[in-house]
Every structure is written in C-alpha cells, then in structure tokens.
C-alpha cells in the first residue's frame, strides 16, 4: 500500500530504556530522523508518561528494572493500541515470541542499525488510506475501513492498528493467498524478508480476538506451507 502512506513528520516517540547512554543515543538518533522524543528510564514510569504525553509510538526495551518490558507492554496494551516497537537483547525464539505475544507490533534485536530502526518506526506510523465509504466483509465480520472499525453482528471488536491493517490486507484480496513475506512487506513495511515469526504471532493474536473458535479459524485461514488467506464472506 505504498501509494497510500502518510508520514507524520513530527511524530512523538516515547523511549523506555534504562541504560542512560543508550537512551540518550536513541533520542539523539530519533531526533536526527525527525521524531519528537521523550525518554523514561523505568518501566513503572512508562504508563504515566504514556497517559501524559500520548505518544504516537513507543520504543520499549525488553529488560527493564522494576517492571519488565513484557509487563509494561501488557499494561500499555490494556489501555491503548499505540504501536509498540520492542528492543531486545535476546534473539531466542522464546524471548521474541514472548515479547510479541505481550502485544508488541514489531521488535528489533540490539544493536539496531539506525536506518533500519527509523524505517521500522516510520512503517508503524504509516496508515493505510481508504475510500471514505469503503466497507468490506471477511468471514462473518464487517469492516468499516475509514472508521477503523470491525464488528460482528453489530458488536464492535477492538483491534490494534496493526491487527486492523493485517485483517484489512487479507480482506481486500479475499481470493489471494498471502505468504508471510508478502504480509511482512504490506503490513509491516519490510523491504527485505525478515522474521516470519512476527506474522505467526500476530495472526494468532488477531485470531484470538476475531475468531469464534481460534482452534478452528473461519476468518483468517492457514494455507499449509504457503501462508494465510481470508475466510469466505457470509
């Protein structure tokens, strides 16, 4: 959806990082890239800062004193769909999946390349544009695209922006089978093939919200060995 992007030039980024040097450097690099930045050094201060600053994006270190990044992430998710990009020193599958499952939209293993980090953050801030009246169905769900609303039988279902984008990408081309790589490119904005675990985890999170029975999905179907596709509209 490259044609439909819009970059917020003055997007506010909340950096949650305990290492002062690292936090300072992150702030410098992000400011250099045109973001407004705020830094908190403790997990417990993240939530008050979030409420106060209402950032467009959160960069979160996974290992924090006081309250772990995972817990912070869960706490943020409980009250906000703000995009969260996690920075982690651990690249074990367990740690990555745990971080993603707690609600992060994307993650980067330390040390990130500055350019790549900025590109990822921009991708998370980018919104998919839509026709004012575009309405889609997927499975037994109705999607109000301009209103960013998904509902089943009139009952709204709350999705994070990323989950909404993922569902929308599938719903717009109901006959197409999406490989994980294509989804990474279209939804996450990755230029190169990256970690497909991102897709797996987010499909699971999405299913847990939109499927009647996540064990037997009807909205987001798995195509074995290939990827995912939209369920038949009803």
């Amino acid at each position: 959806m490259g044609s439909a992007t819009m970059v917020c030039m003055a997007a506010r980024v909340l950096v949650v990082e305990d290492d002062p040097a690292s936090a300072e450097m992150l702030a410098i690099a992000l400011r250099q890239a045109g973001f407004e930045t705020a830094v908190v050094g403790e997990g417990t201060k993240a939530l008050p800062a979030l409420r106060e600053l209402k950032p467009d994006l959160v960069v979160l270190d996974l290992m924090l004193p006081g309250m772990s990044g995972i817990d912070v992430c869960k706490a943020i998710r409980a009250e906000s769909g703000v995009p969260i990009v996690m920075l982690t020193a651990k690249s074990d599958t367990v740690d990555v999946v745990l971080g993603l499952e707690s609600g992060a939209d994307d993650y980067m293993v330390k040390p990130p390349k500055t350019q790549e980090l900025v590109a990822r953050l921009r991708a998370r801030l980018r919104r998919i544009e839509a026709d004012p009246a575009e309405r889609l169905t997927i499975g037994d769900l109705a999607i109000d695209v301009p209103g960013h609303q998904v509902s089943r039988d009139g009952t709204p279902i709350s999705l994070t922006p990323l989950e909404f984008d993922l569902l929308l990408a599938l719903a717009r081309k109901p006959r197409q089978v999406f490989t994980r790589e294509v989804l990474l490119e279209q939804v996450w904005g990755y230029q190169h093939a990256a970690d497909t675990r991102l897709v797996n985890v987010h499909v699971q999170r999405l299913r847990s919200k939109v499927e009647r029975d996540p064990e037997h999905p009807e909205v987001v179907l798995t195509v074995r060995g290939v990827g995912y596709k939209a369920g038949t509209s009803r």
Binding site: D19, A21, S22, E24, M25, L26, I28, A29, Q32, M63, L87, A89, K90, S91, D92, T93, V94, V109, K110, P111, P112, K113, T114, Q115, T179, E181, H192, A193, D195, T196, R197, N200, R224, G225, V226
Partner: protein
C-alpha cells in the same frame, strides 16, 4: 510314576502343530521366567530322585516279603515231609492200596487233625500239596501216581527234586481265568523203598496285594512330595524373584527419566545389598544429570546475560557510529575512512557476537527448533535472494535448480535459510567467480539442498575440517563477505538439530559441493539423500569419476570456512 510320565508326554503331542506351538510358548516362558526355570528344574530333579528311591524301596520290600515267605514255606515243607514220611513209611511199596494211602496223606496235609501239627494254615499260609509217586527202588517200577495239580509244578523244579534235591521256585500258575504267582517248594520223600516227591504250592496272593498297596502308597507319596517340593521351590524362588522384578521395574522407570525412583531396601541380605548398590548408582547418576542440567541452565543464563550486557553498550556505539557515518560529509576528510571502518567493523563485531552466542546456545543444548511445514523451495530461494547482492558484486552467476512441484517439509525455516545462506556465501567466497549452483530435490522421506561451486575446491581430508570452528582453508585468501569462521559449524549444528546431515565434498581445482539433507517430517530418521554428493551431479566436470563421496553420516562437529 512311569505310566504317569508316559501319559503326560502323550498329552503334549495331540498333533505336530499344537505341539510345536506349545513348545514355543513354553520356550518363551522358560526364557523369560526365572521362577519357571527354577521350579521346573527342581521338580525334574526331585522326580528322578523320588523315582529311584521308590523303585529301590519297592524292590527291597518285595525281596523281604519273598524271603520271609520262603522261610516260612521251607519250614512248612519240613513239617510236611515229616508227616508224609510217617504216613507212608510203613506202606508196602508194591501194595495196590498205595493210591488210597497217598490220597489220605494228602488229605491229612490239607486238613490236619485237630491235635496234629499245623498243616495248611501255618505261618506260611495256605498251600496246595502235590504228591507224586516217583517210582520204587531200583527194579521196582513207579506207579507214576500223583495227587494234586502236578502240571502247576515247573519242570525245572521237578527235575531238580527228582535228582534228590530240596528246592523251591517262584512260578506262575493259572487258576481259572487269573494267573497267580506261586511259590513252589519241592522235596523228595523217603518212604518204604519208594522215591516220592512232595510239592507244596504256596500262592503269593497276599504278598502281591501287600506289594501293590505299598506301590500305590509310594506313588501317591511321591506325587504329594513332588507337589510339595514344587510349592516350596516356587515359594523360595518368589522370595528372590519378587525383589529382582521390583528392582527391574525400578530400573526401567529410572531409565525412562524418573530419576527419583529408588529400590526399597529391607534387611541386610543380598537383595538389600543389590538395592543399596542400585540406589547409590541411581543417586550418583541423578547427581551428575542435575549438575549437567545446572550447567546447561548456567550456560543459558550466561549466554543471555552476555548477550544483554554486551548488546546494550553496543547499541549506543552502533547508533553513534551510524550517526557519524551518515554525517561524514560534515567531518574532516581524514575522518571519512575511519567512520566507514567503524561501521563496517561494527557489522563484523555484531556478526561475530551473534554467531558466538548462537554456537554457545547450540553447545548448551538450549537451541530450540521452531519447526513448521514450509515449502523448502521458498526457503532456498530466500537464501539465494539474500546473497544476490554479494553475488552481483563478485560477478558470480547464481544458478537455481528447483523442483517444479512444491516441496513441503517440517523444518525451522530461519535455521534452514541460514544454513543455505552460509553455504552460498561460502561458495561465493571460494567460487573464483565461476557459476554457483543451488539444487533442491526431494523424495518421499527427505529433502536435499546442494550448493556446488567450481572454485578452488578442497584438499583431501578437508571435508571434515571445513566444519571446524574458526578453520580457514587458506589464511592468505581475502574474504569477500567477511565471515566469522563459525558459519559452517553453526550450519552443521542446525542440520543436526533437524536430525539432518550436512556433508562436504571437494577436489582441488574442481570446486566443492555441500549437501544439506533434512528429513521431511520430524519423526523420520534419515537413511539416504535424494541428491548425490560429489562430481556425479555435474558429469564431465571432474577428472576422477571414482572420487568417493563423503561418508553418508554427519561429519563430526566442526565448522568454519566462511
């Protein structure tokens, strides 16, 4: 006991098929059960002893019975001879009344007078007398008269008695339809000038009855004794076998990973010693396993800590370097190159750190396989795409030969892609700019990825060395991709994590080939590879078609020619 055994044998042989079946079952039970073996051997040995004992006892008893009967009979015979001699002594040998006298005498032998000496009802029991007139003195012909059943007297005895001997013999006589064992005693009787023979036939019916009774008592006693012995043997064996079986069960559970299993130790006997020793061994094994587990945990924790501790400052350095590099135009020209070097060496440092952490994770056995069913062609193509930039820069054509149909396999796509990427960068590094081929093939059980280059190849013996950590084929060679020297060892470990093989082949001047073979499902054990390793896949390519391919087993650990 013999008839019994005979019947048992007959029972085992109703037909050949059933017999062999029974034999097989018995054989199996015999092999498996110590108890059955001990009890059966005890019973077999005891039966032999009881049988021999019984036969000796019976023979002894029979002998005693016959001896005492014989003595009584001989005593009776002496009496009878006295009686007969006194009755017939005065009779005229030539008298015609001889026959009458004879009959009277025999009657007196059978029915003694009330005051007379005991006759047919003595200690020796009832008897039948036979009196034969064997003829007169020389010159006087015998009348040949006989009283009683002479035909029952054996001829051997008769001829002995006729010669004047006092003899006896055991014989069988027929009485009606039954045959009776009889003791026949014969003696010559001296009468007035005549030689007569007196025979007494003592039926041994009573003795035989006694013997039969004794026999059946012996058989019954023997059987009861055997049953008792079998029971005792069974009980005694149980005392040994039950603890042994318990120990075996405990050992099996222990082997299945229940490391807390112990044998209950009671008393101080041999079984208790076995239990104590086993428990000590179990405790020792458990201790060592715990230590290894702890070591693994430590290693994992250490890996994780190092990872975090190194990566956090590295983040700062990395971003600072990136910032310097991005704004190098504003720097003094003399600082341009240092900024570039800083960034590129940081890349190398990161790669090395990542590889070191990965190999330590693999060593610690904490690496996890996130297997999913994917199309291996896609994974291989990704790997190829990720090195295409390097290939272009090196001017090396990258040729892909992928099957037309999808190749689904249960693999960890990240690890497999990393393996193929490693093999490809390796081939590009050593391919001398000549084409590098990437081939994927599959059969029902396995999928193979072959990376073939036509560069410098491998010296003999280097097929294994390439997997050694930090090993470099030729230290003087420049390295285009700046590998860490750990790539192939990580790839080998990754292949093993999948239960797969990673093998190398190479000939100096003819290039080298690396073949990754992976089972298509997690529970398959590899038996072969769908692709040949070696020069065969490129005919006319090698000067030596008979070059042996690398052994079909995963080569020992060791990486590193990236």
């Amino acid at each position: 006991m013999r008839p019994l055994a005979g019947r048992a044998t007959d029972g085992l042989r109703p037909s050949a098929g059933v017999a062999s079946e029974l034999a097989a079952i018995f054989g199996a039970v015999w092999r498996r059960s110590l108890k059955v073996r001990v009890v059966s051997s005890t019973v077999v040995l005891s039966s032999t002893v009881v049988l021999v004992l019984g036969m000796v006892l019976q023979a002894q008893l029979a002998q005693r019975l016959i001896d005492s009967k014989t003595q009584a009979a001989l005593a009776q015979a002496e009496n009878s001879r006295g009686l007969v001699e006194s009755e017939l002594g005065a009779v005229d040998p030539t008298s015609a009344s001889l026959a009458g006298r004879l009959t009277t005498t025999v009657d007196r032998l059978t029915n003694p007078d009330p005051t007379g000496t005991p006759a047919a009802t003595t200690n020796a029991g009832a008897y039948e007398p036979v009196l034969v007139d064997g003829g007169g003195p020389p010159g006087v012909a015998g009348t040949g008269q006989e009283i009683g059943p002479l035909e029952d007297v054996p001829s051997v005895l008769r001829s002995a008695v006729e010669r004047g001997a006092f003899a006896y013999k055991i014989t069988t006589v027929r009485r009606g339809s039954t045959s009776v064992i009889t003791l026949a005693v014969g003696m010559p009787v001296a009468s007035a000038g005549r030689t007569m023979q007196l025979y007494l036939l003592f039926p041994l019916t009573a003795e035989q009855r006694t013997l039969t009774l004794v026999q059946s008592t012996l058989v019954l006693g023997g059987v009861v004794l055997l049953v008792l012995i079998a029971g005792i043997a069974s009980l005694v064996t149980r005392q040994v076998v039950v603890p042994v079986r318990q120990a075996a069960e405990v050992a099996e559970r222990f082997a299945h990973g229940h490391l807390d299993e112990r044998i209950p130790v009671v008393g101080e006997d041999d079984m208790a010693r076995l239990g104590t020793s086993f428990n000590e061994m179990a405790a020792s094994i458990q201790r060592q396993i715990r230590q290894l587990e702890e070591f693994g945990e430590l290693q994992r924790g250490f890996t994780s800590d190092v990872s975090h501790e190194l990566r956090t400052p590295l983040t700062t350095v990395r971003m600072a370097a990136d910032l310097l590099y991005d704004s190098r135009d504003k720097l003094h020209p003399a600082l341009h190159r240092p900024a570039e070097l800083l960034v590129s060496e940081l890349d190398r440092f990161e790669a090395l750190l990542a590889d070191l952490l990965e190999i330590s994770r693999l060593d610690a056995g904490v690496a996890e396989l996130s297997a999913e069913t994917v199309d291996v062609r896609v994974t291989a193509a990704h790997a190829a795409a990720s090195v295409s930039a390097v290939a272009n820069r090196a001017g090396t054509p990258l040729e892909l030969a992928l099957p037309a149909a999808e190749v689904l396999a249960e693999i960890d796509p990240r690890r497999v892609e990393r393996i193929v990427r490693n093999l490809l960068t390796n081939a590009l590094d050593h391919g001398e700019g000549r084409p590098v081929q990437l081939t994927v093939a599959a059969d029902s059980e396995a999928v193979a990825v072959l990376v073939r280059d036509h560069g410098i190849g491998l010296q003999p013996g280097q097929q294994d060395l390439v997997f050694t950590r930090f090993w470099r084929g030729d230290p003087s060679r420049d390295r285009r991709t700046g590998g860490t020297g750990l790539g192939l060892s990580i790839s080998l470990e990754d292949a093993r994590l999948h239960g797969g093989w990673l093998q190398a082949w190479g000939e100096p001047g003819w290039g080298s080939a690396f073949r990754l073979t992976l089972p298509r499902s997690r529970d398959t054990v590899l038996t072969g590879s769908p692709l040949p390793l070696g020069p065969d896949n490129a005919p006319g390519d090698s000067p030596r078609q008979d070059t042996p391919p690398a052994p079909d087993t995963a080569v020992p650990a060791g990486p590193g020619r990236q």
